[in-house]
């Protein structure tokens, strides 16, 4: 049980590639933190520095309050699950799981007790005699987790543990990982490039891009209040719409977002003060697809009517995605399947303005 803290952590590979550019992060005891970001953003590098597999160029890593910069992996009391599991092919499942305990000099009875306990949690009791070759992907995944659990380490590290599994198994294992964490409550750092995995698993999500942290926060917070254009676009599927727009003064002290093609939507009253300094500027208007719905579905305030000609409709079953263009920008909305959306037809939509965002194009900050 331990907290992990990263201070101004930098990793520069030979040849001058800065994979991690000075990140600060505090992970609480028992917390499940997910590092998420596009390929090559430095997630694995960060995780491997925590594990001690990668040398730290500068900065500091502390586990449980102790700086571990110069401590080798075996003395950091961490456990790691690799993307391709890295099971020892010449050892049985039992030996794979117990290897770390054996090296640490646990008694045979204690090893057996712990392995059996982990096997029970993961449901791999019948597989203990097998060699990894005779296991399916999901079973290997469980063994890799078993290897981590038995050690009862201070921190679990996961590097994209589910990306080699098929879609269905991935969802199942995702749930299992969450259950295991709820059982053992070990501090966990989990790396993935899949934002759904990040959202579903994390207590807090850390969004990384180009070696820096864009934003840290609970999943819903990130979803509702992204801090940067990158987070706004990365979290959520389908992605948030970003429409070039101009913020203009309207009569009565209000503000209007001018979307082009003569479309405009009013800024909710409670946001006027926040956005007022940016009046008369060219910005990006951000709104998620689920906040562009059919006009009839809702009767709340802050609904702005928006009538558009639909280009493509995609029925998803429980909802229908509608695609249209505003001034050359492709926009996506989500309507009720019964709303009668049809390609090539004009449809009255409504924008839920209390969920709007305005993004500064230059700095990429969400205003």
């Amino acid at each position: 049980m331990a907290q992990v803290s990263l201070r101004k952590l930098v990793k520069e590979y030979e040849g001058g590639v800065q994979a991690v550019k000075g990140i600060d992060l505090d992970i609480e005891d028992e917390e499940f933190v997910v590092l998420v970001g596009p390929s090559g953003c430095g997630k694995s590098t960060t995780l491997r520095m925590i594990a001690g597999l990668e040398e730290i160029t500068s900065g500091e890593i502390a586990i449980g309050g102790d700086v571990v910069n110069d401590i080798p992996p075996r003395d950091r009391d961490i456990a790691m699950v690799f993307q391709n599991y890295a099971l020892y092919p010449h050892m049985s499942v039992y030996d794979n799981i117990s290897f770390g305990l054996k090296l640490r000099g646990f008694t045979r009875e204690e090893i057996k007790r712990r392995v059996d306990n982990a096997a029970r949690i993961l449901g791999i009791g019948e597989l203990l005699e097998r060699k990894p070759k005779a296991l399916s992907g999901g079973q290997r995944q469980r063994v890799a987790m078993g290897r981590a659990i038995v050690r009862d380490p201070k921190v679990f590290l996961f590097d994209e543990p589910l990306s080699n599994l098929d879609a269905k198994l991935r969802v199942q294992m995702r749930t299992e990982i969450k259950q295991v964490h709820q059982t053992v409550r070990t501090t966990t750092v989990y790396v993935t490039h899949d934002q759904v995995e990040a959202m579903t698993l994390a207590d807090r999500v850390v969004v990384m891009n180009h070696g820096v942290i864009e934003q840290v926060g609970p999943p819903n917070e990130l979803y509702r209040n992204p801090a940067t254009i990158f987070v706004a676009g990365f979290i959520g599927s389908p992605a948030m719409n970003m429409i070039p727009a101009r913020l203009e003064q309207a009569g009565g002290g209000g503000l209007m977002v001018q979307l082009g093609e003569g479309l405009s939507v009013p800024v909710p009253e409670e946001r006027t003060a926040r956005y007022a300094p940016h009046a008369n500027r060219d910005l990006l208007f951000g709104i998620r697809p689920e906040h562009l719905t059919e006009a009839t579905r809702i009767d709340k305030q802050n609904l702005a009517p928006l009538t558009v000609k639909l280009d493509v409709i995609e029925p998803m079953g429980m909802e229908t995605l509608v695609h249209f263009h505003i001034d050359g920008t492709s926009v996506c909305g989500r309507v009720d399947p019964a709303a009668g959306a049809e390609a090539g037809v004009r449809m009255a939509l409504a924008a839920h303005m209390e969920h709007m965002h305005l993004i500064d194009k230059g700095s990429g900050k969400v205003l």
Binding site: L53, A86, P89, F99, R151
Partner: protein
């Protein structure tokens, strides 16, 4: 119409192919269609080569070893019994085993050590070193042994010269039984270690880096990683290389022939050089054949067990 026609054209031969049921196909053609027949025909050249170049000479050698000196009468296993009763041949058995086992062990150890060092040199510098370390293995051994023979020469030994510089007395390299035994082993190790090195290097490279990472996270020291990851992962290559080298080293001829010619007093003879001496130089061909066949059963049993282990591990792991 067109897609229909083409579909038929594709399915037709498949439908009749394997069973050969359609009328008008001769039984010969049907035989040729069977997969096992085709497989047999395709391996026939290899079978002939093996029969001609391996099975026939081996059978002939075994037959030869059961004849008497004049090759007139069949005397069963008497040649073997006579050999076993002879004091000097028992010494040769002992010397052959001592030579082969010591040399293979040293080659394996030195080869492993070299491979390990090479493995940790960055890739760019590695090729150069690999090439240089392979040199002993690519020079024809008869030639390089001649070089060693010169270095061991009682009066002009360059090794002795260096030893003298450090104040030690000269060593009678090829003149005393034990020094001569050590010398032939040394040359054999010098010649054979690069082969082990290159095999082990390939094996080392094939161990996934992540296993070491997982092991070090699991708490393994570098020695434990070697013991629990590297060695088990290399076990197949080690077994095969040792077996192969054991066979070749037992059958060694050129090094002993050039360096000591079996001397002093026949103490460095191996099966091959002794077989040559008995069979060709002394003209007792059947007994020579018996000498050279002596190791066959022992090596065959060793090969059987080693290869069985290799197959089992391959099934389980790879």
């Amino acid at each position: 119409m067109a897609p229909d026609g083409s579909a038929k054209a594709i399915t037709q031969p498949v439908a009749r192919g394997p069973r050969g049921r359609s009328p008008g196909v001769s039984s010969l053609e049907r035989l040729a269609r069977r997969r096992s027949s085709i497989a047999f025909l395709m391996t026939l050249p290899l079978i002939l080569v093996i029969a001609g170049l391996v099975a026939y000479p081996a059978a002939w050698a075994i037959y030869l070893s059961t004849l008497n000196r004049r090759m007139r009468a069949n005397i069963g296993f008497d040649n073997y019994l006579i050999l076993l009763e002879s004091e000097s041949f028992r010494m040769i058995i002992w010397q052959s085993c001592f030579f082969a086992i010591t040399a293979v062990l040293l080659k394996a150890l030195i080869g492993f050590w070299l491979a390990h060092m090479l493995h940790h040199i960055p890739t760019r510098g590695q090729r150069k070193w690999r090439g240089m370390l392979l040199i002993p293995w690519v020079i024809p051994p008869a030639l390089s042994t001649l070089g060693w023979w010169w270095m061991f020469d009682p009066s002009y030994s360059s090794i002795n010269w260096i030893i003298n510089v450090f104040g030690f007395p000269s060593v009678p390299w090829l003149g005393q039984p034990w020094w001569a035994r050590i010398s032939v082993i040394m040359v054999n190790v010098w010649y054979g270690a690069p082969f082990f090195m290159i095999m082990y290097l390939a094996a080392l490279k094939s161990v996934p880096e992540q296993l070491y990472e997982a092991a070090s996270i699991d708490g393994a020291t570098s020695w434990q990683r070697l013991r629990f990851i590297t060695l088990p992962m290399m076990q197949n290559i080690i077994s095969i290389t040792v077996l192969f080298s054991l066979i070749v080293t037992f059958a060694n001829y050129d090094i002993v022939r050039v360096l000591t010619n079996g001397g002093p007093r026949d103490t460095t003879h191996l099966f091959a050089t002794y077989a040559f001496q008995v069979g060709i130089l002394s003209g007792n061909l059947p007994r020579g054949a018996a000498v050279s066949l002596f190791m066959l059963p022992i090596l065959a049993v060793a090969a059987f067990f080693i290869l069985r282990g290799v197959t089992r591990r391959t099934k389980e792991i790879a």
